[in-house]
């Protein structure tokens, strides 16, 4: 068991690769979310890219470290917050007297500016946050099934 544990946690290639890729993956995913209305991409795609950081952590350091590094309760609450934010931004159209999901205050700045498309931009951010937290939570949930329940119990068995 000790050998197995060491094999899982001290794989130098996986560890160095994940250390190298993780910041770039997170930054690039956040870039895709932030520039969703200007360049190709959007909330869904960028959110999944950021959530892949959890997989990188799991591959390099195992489930226990990934669970310590990422608070799953925050992820679960954050997903609901993102969904609520989307609904509130959609209701903004009703508050100004138009229909649901109406785009308001979109005529500030030039075409191609970061915040030039009004509520579309912030709806994209809220969906990105929601997908990031939701898919990250789902991935951690699936990893918890792959991981052994408790290391101490298995050591006792052997």
């Amino acid at each position: 068991m000790k050998f197995k544990k060491g094999l899982a946690e001290k794989n130098v290639i996986m560890k160095c690769g994940a250390d190298m890729m993780l910041p770039f993956a997170v930054v690039f995913g956040i870039y895709i979310i932030l520039f969703g209305t200007v360049s190709p991409g959007g909330g869904f795609q960028g959110g999944v890219m950021v959530a892949a950081a959890a997989v990188l952590l799991y591959l390099a350091y195992g489930y226990n470290t990934a669970k310590q590094a990422i608070n799953t309760e925050v992820l679960r609450v954050g997903e609901a917050c993102g969904a609520t934010l989307y609904v509130i931004l959609g209701l903004c159209g009703l508050f100004v007297g138009a229909n649901f999901c109406r785009n308001i205050f979109f005529d500030n700045g030039a075409v191609g500016d970061l915040i030039s498309a009004g509520t579309i931009t912030f709806m994209g951010y809220s969906v990105g946050f929601k997908v990031l937290t939701g898919v990250g939570f789902l991935l951690l949930l699936m990893m918890s099934l792959l991981a052994p329940d408790n290391d101490d119990e298995e050591e006792e068995e052997e």
Partner: protein, 123 residues
């Protein structure tokens, strides 16, 4: 067994008749791509891909006309797909994101329960 087979045959015939009806109706519709660009010259699909400004948008109608021609006035979003997803079809995106929410909630309920059960069995 025999009744089941009869029901299966009848439902297959109904599906076949509906498919034939749809095909015969679709055959009478006008063609969407007539092989000509905005100026009326013959154009290839590959050429359209290489130079998208040649798209013939003169006879677009309904929501397609608004999305293609009035995107920048209505949304100011350079990415037209984001404008469609979050503005023109915002309600659809709401349902899409709630599908994700409910599926994750369902996965949490099922997986957490089986996990707990496994632990109880071990004890």
């Amino acid at each position: 067994m025999k009744a089941k087979r009869i029901v299966a045959i009848i439902s297959l015939l109904v599906i076949l008749a509906a498919g034939l009806f749809a095909v015969l109706n679709a055959y009478t519709l006008p063609r969407a791509y007539d092989g000509k660009d905005a100026a009326g010259n013959a154009i290839d699909v590959v050429e359209l891909y290489e130079n998208p400004t040649n798209y013939d948008v003169s006879d677009a109608d309904g929501i397609a006309d608004i999305i293609v021609k009035q995107n920048l006035e209505k949304t100011m979003a350079a990415n037209n797909v984001a404008a469609v997803v979050f503005d023109f079809r915002g309600f659809d995106t709401l349902g899409e994101s709630f599908i994700l929410l409910t599926s994750i909630a369902g996965a949490f309920v099922i997986l957490a329960k089986s996990h707990k059960k496994k632990k109880e069995d071990e004890q």
